[in-house]
């Protein structure tokens, strides 16, 4: 398992893309997807919602459990990945690519986001 170098990470196991035109793409890491098991249902925030760093904004349900989804940054939702809503297994099969979850117009980001190497050390993976 390798965590892409160009992304940053939260301790709640989300990844955050580089901010382009003020907008960042967010998903969960491969480590988190593996820990969840097969994801079968994704409730994502809706376009226009305001999300706050470290607070819940949706849920991911797997065969055995349901987990809250957090936003690693504060801002306004500009897109939710309808492909994941239709086929939640994308979170498992392509967590860093087609399995992205939502996009946020970033208003504020916390200072403690991790680099790929820091996250690898933090998660042990």
């Amino acid at each position: 398992m390798s965590n892409p170098q160009q992304l940053r990470y939260s301790k709640e196991h989300e990844w955050l893309s580089a901010v382009e035109d003020g907008v960042a793409t967010i998903g969960i890491t491969e480590y988190a997807a593996n820990a969840l098991g097969d994801v079968v249902y994704a409730q994502l925030p809706e376009v226009g919602d305001t999300v706050t760093a470290g607070e819940t904004c949706g849920e991911l349900e797997s065969t055995k459990s349901v987990s809250d989804l957090y936003s690693p940054v504060t801002g306004e939702i500009t897109a939710a990945n309808q492909d994941v809503v239709d086929d939640p297994s994308l979170v498992n099969s392509a967590p860093f690519e087609g399995g992205w979850l939502f996009k946020v117009r970033v208003a504020e980001e916390p200072k403690d986001l991790l680099s790929a190497d820091e996250y690898t050390e933090f998660s042990g993976n």
């Binding site: 593996n34 098991g37 097969d38 349900e61 055995k64």
Partner: protein, 371 residues
């Protein structure tokens, strides 16, 4: 009491296969190896290999072994012939279910009782206490056995390729001693998946050799290793109760809709008889909540303990729920008031974290294999 998890004889092998391990009743067991959905589908369409060494084996021997079992359990063990097995229960004096069991009759005066991992000590203690005055010995044989299961439509062909035992002559719920892949085994045609399959009781020292031989024999037939996660969705689709969910000490077999396992007609007294007779009468006059199946219209998954609601009232409780790989929808088993228990009843929902999600009431099981 030690808190260190107990390990099966196959522990190192599971880890080498990359299994995600989980604590189950004090045992460190494989939850899944890769995708639990793939494992589930392999058992439904081809074959899966399970390590079930956490199950508890108790041997009961002696001239009065059958009398002891008839006294200690609710079933009629006297009608089980050598080489056959019986699904039964052990109840407390008040009729509450202590565990559900499979009893194999291995020889004229020798039986093996297989208990759930979480209840193995309770069953052992109860049988030991109830053996007083009977010319019979109750022996904890947990450490004498590893238990592997091969389940799925390809399992007879896979097993046949590594044994000379007469599998065609081995009926469902029967067991015979034989040699599998060069290893002495009790070969039982039992399982907990809703598919045809076998459970193989072997010495722990032989478990790894047997696992490797079955893996090799099954590779071309689609056999893959399977964990407890898919075992749970398989048994749920098959409508099979799980102790701690559908069965508890707070329920009698009649409350669980399994009154048929209680045999009042057998000779002599048995533990719980009086309370169970009352429970049977109660079930006749005032039907208890009924165990039903629920199929989701949406995609949110009901979990054990979630309320079942109708018309704004709580009318039941979910005991097990999961996304069903075979149906492609979330399913659940639930105890529901008789008024809402008829298949097709309108307006039933499950309260999933505050949102009332519509569910269809169906008869169990959700899935039945074609024979």
């Amino acid at each position: 009491m030690s808190t260190a998890p107990r390990l099966t004889a196959l522990d190192a092998l599971h880890r080498s296969l990359g299994a995600t391990m989980t604590d189950f009743a004090g045992w460190d067991m494989p939850l899944r190896y890769a995708s639990e959905r793939d494992e589930h589908n392999a058992v439904r369409t081809k074959a899966g290999l399970f390590d079930l060494s956490h199950m508890g084996e108790i041997t009961v021997t002696g001239p009065a072994a059958v009398d002891l079992l008839n006294f200690a359990l609710v079933g009629n063990i006297g009608t089980v012939s050598v080489g056959r097995a019986r699904y039964t229960m052990i109840c407390a004096e008040d009729g509450g279910i202590l565990d559900d069991l499979i009893v194999y009759r291995l020889a004229e005066t020798e039986y093996m009782v297989v208990a759930n991992a979480g209840n193995a000590q309770i069953v052992l203690d109860a049988l030991t206490a109830r053996a007083e005055g009977f010319d019979a010995e109750v022996r904890d044989d947990h450490d004498a056995y590893a238990l592997l299961a091969v389940q799925g439509p390809e399992s007879p062909a896979i097993l046949a390729s590594v044994t000379d035992a007469d599998l065609d002559g081995l009926k469902y719920y029967a067991g015979l001693p034989g040699t599998v892949a060069g290893v002495p085994a009790l070969i039982a045609r039992t399982g907990y998946t809703g598919e045809d399959g076998f459970e193989l009781f072997v010495a722990p020292g032989h478990a790894e050799q047997l696992w490797r031989a079955l893996t090799e024999a099954g590779a071309s037939r689609g056999l893959i290793p399977c964990g407890l996660s898919c075992r749970d969705t398989l048994r749920l689709e098959a409508g099979m109760p799980l102790y701690g969910h559908e069965l508890t000490t707070g329920l009698t077999p009649f409350d669980a809709g399994l009154g048929r396992v209680v045999k009042f007609e057998k000779e002599g007294d048995f533990v719980g008889r009086k309370a169970l007779e009352a429970a049977a009468e109660r079930a006749e006059s005032a039907p208890p909540r009924k165990l039903v199946g629920l199929v989701a219209e949406g995609r949110r998954v009901p979990r054990a303990g979630f309320p079942v609601v109708a018309g704004g009232q709580v009318v039941g409780e979910v005991t097990s729920g999961a996304p069903s790989p075979t149906l492609g929808k979330p399913i659940a088993m639930a105890y529901v008031d008789a008024a809402h228990a008829t298949p097709g009843t309108e307006g039933v929902a499950v309260d999933i974290r505050g949102s009332h999600e519509p569910y269809e009431v169906v008869a169990l099981p959700f899935y039945k294999r074609r024979k």
